[in-house]
């Protein structure tokens, strides 16, 4: 008998009597899609937030905050002006020296500060990890309260790969001391689009 059949027949024989799948309850709306709440949580996990109403202002802010960060790569057409080069990268390894990556986030989650990104938003899956600094642009209407709401929006989307990103990469593996910038980006900046404050 193959390993597969051996495992499956043992599982079938030993699994308990079928019990039904529970419904996931609609929890009371304690968490809301509040931008101020989202900002607070994001800052708590080491990200920086900016409210903005145009791509022009994002470019100005990026040029100010990341003046020396070169090269820059963005997959957002409206920000194409900040791309350091129009070179085509043939492998993810070629992104090795990228300093700043700017991508679109599909949605943000107020309860935990995570943003959802899929393959459609990046040129290479490695891009949001290999860069030294990551910036994402999120439309304010795409903010949801909880993870339940997030998966409702994601639905049956047929992505090949997708990820929730919550702040810069981090570790506390040395005596529980929090250090930002483990193997992924050292900073994360979130631009909330469509807000005038």
């Amino acid at each position: 008998m193959s390993n597969r059949d051996k495992i499956l027949s043992a599982v079938k024989q030993n699994q308990p009597t079928l019990v039904s799948l529970p419904e996931v309850a609609q929890f009371d709306k304690y968490f809301t899609e509040s931008i101020t709440e989202f900002k607070k949580v994001c800052e708590g996990i080491g990200a920086t937030l900016h409210f903005t109403d145009s791509y022009e202002s994002i470019i100005l802010l990026l040029e100010e905050q990341f003046a020396t960060a070169r090269p820059v790569v963005t997959s957002i057409p409206e920000l194409a002006a900040i791309n350091s080069s129009s070179a085509i990268f043939n492998s993810p390894q070629e992104y090795e020296n990228i300093e700043l990556v700017v991508i679109k986030a599909q949605l943000g989650v107020a309860e935990n500060g995570a943003v959802w990104i899929t393959e459609a938003d990046v040129l290479e899956r490695a891009l949001p990890f290999i860069t030294q600094h990551l910036a994402v642009v999120l439309h304010k209407d795409m903010l949801v309260a909880t993870m339940h709401d997030a998966y409702k929006l994601i639905g049956k989307d047929n992505y090949g790969w997708g990820t929730f990103i919550a702040g810069p990469s981090k570790t506390a593996d040395i005596e529980q001391s929090l250090v930002l910038g483990a193997h992924g980006p050292r900073t994360m900046t979130i631009f909330i689009m469509g807000t005038l404050l």
């Binding site: 390993n3 019990v19 799948l21 529970p22 304690y30 490695a126 990820t163 593996d173 040395i174 005596e175």
Partner: protein, 460 residues
Amino acid sequence: MNAKKQDHAALSEIFNKDEERVNWHDETLWWVRQKRDKAAFGVPEWEALRETASAIKHHTLSNLHDYLTTFEQKAVENGIVVHWAAGAKEHNDIVLSLLNKAGTNKMMKSKSMLTEELHLNEFLKEQGIETIDTDLGERIVQLLEEPPSHIVLPAIHRKKEEIGALFHIHLGTPEGNADPKLLTYAARLNMRDVFLTRKVALTGVNFAIAETGEFVVCTNEGNADMGAHLADIHIASMGIEKLIPQRDHLAVFLRLLTRSATGQPITTYSSHFKTPRKGKEIHIIIVDNGRSVQLGREDFRASLKCIRCGACMNTCPVYRRSGGHSYHNSIAGPIGAILAPNLDMKEYADLPFASTLCGSCSNVCPVKIDIHQQLYKWRQIIVQEGYATPAKKAAMSGMNFVLSNPGVFRAAGKAGRWVLRHAPYIAANKFDPWYKHRELPQAPKASFNEWYRKNREQHE
């Protein structure tokens, strides 16, 4: 290995020689437990979420055969190669054959407790394959040539000065520098080269989704993603218990996992892998290694609900004061103590006794595993099967004799009280484990029985 032969009590004794370190270990883990509390109390529906997660897992286990075959079918449709491994040998051989096929003798690996359980690194080393653990904590213990002492915080038993000295030797950091920021940055620079050059990356799996054939890997460091997205071949090793039915169930589990583990609202990265990159490969190895047997043990099958958050370790008064290595098992703490006897009852007969049965583990478990009840039930089976230590067996049969003979019981009680009052040194010595770190109580002059009879006579 000689250390293998020592049981939890003996290994704890070694750990307890350095009292200052024990206190530091205890306080550090309690601090993590407090962060967990803060995060959990911030979610009003926390208890409902635990209940739901537990029920989803129960349902999944009751239909595991079908969920496994559905998952396989969907994953294959997504272009993933699915392998099945009954045990360590089969799993490790599959990994080796994939490395051979790729023509490389170098692998990078993000955190996978399953591969610790299957002793993959040691096996590959014997075959001339170099594996580099990319998680910082795992890299630290790998360089120290020790196993992780905690499933989420692998190097929690080590002080920064020790890590500084280690990195000075291996990564050339300045001698005497123990700054966590500097050490982390040195590891980051060193690991970049590993990520950029290795062709095969192995990751663990936190959740596998039956309806879509995708799987989710959670990290804070980004090391799983760095490896998987830069390698030509991504191998994902998972136990059969990692299945959940639907994608939207991830909401329940991702809300619970990291809040329980470290008190963060979610890990930095929760990556959902569904198809390989163009021209690249993803291989999933589905591993049994005793899990289907545990599934058949009615009293213990709930242990398969575990999502590996480590909350039961952080809260455990025994784990915090004995250290992860005292459990001589890839998974330490209360959950390790209920999983290990299933794999080898004789080898791990001591672990269910490494507990006060206080129940704190069950109270923090995000999937509501009745951990302390299972510890208690394992004790009974271990004694029945004859795996208790000779001293414990002798003590138990002595107790049995005394407690089932009222005359003997009264005489023994009298003798015990006399000894404690007149010659305490007979009981209070180093041969009595109960005397360790404890003072014996003041013995009463009479037993309750004697007192009651006397008082009754007076009042009649």
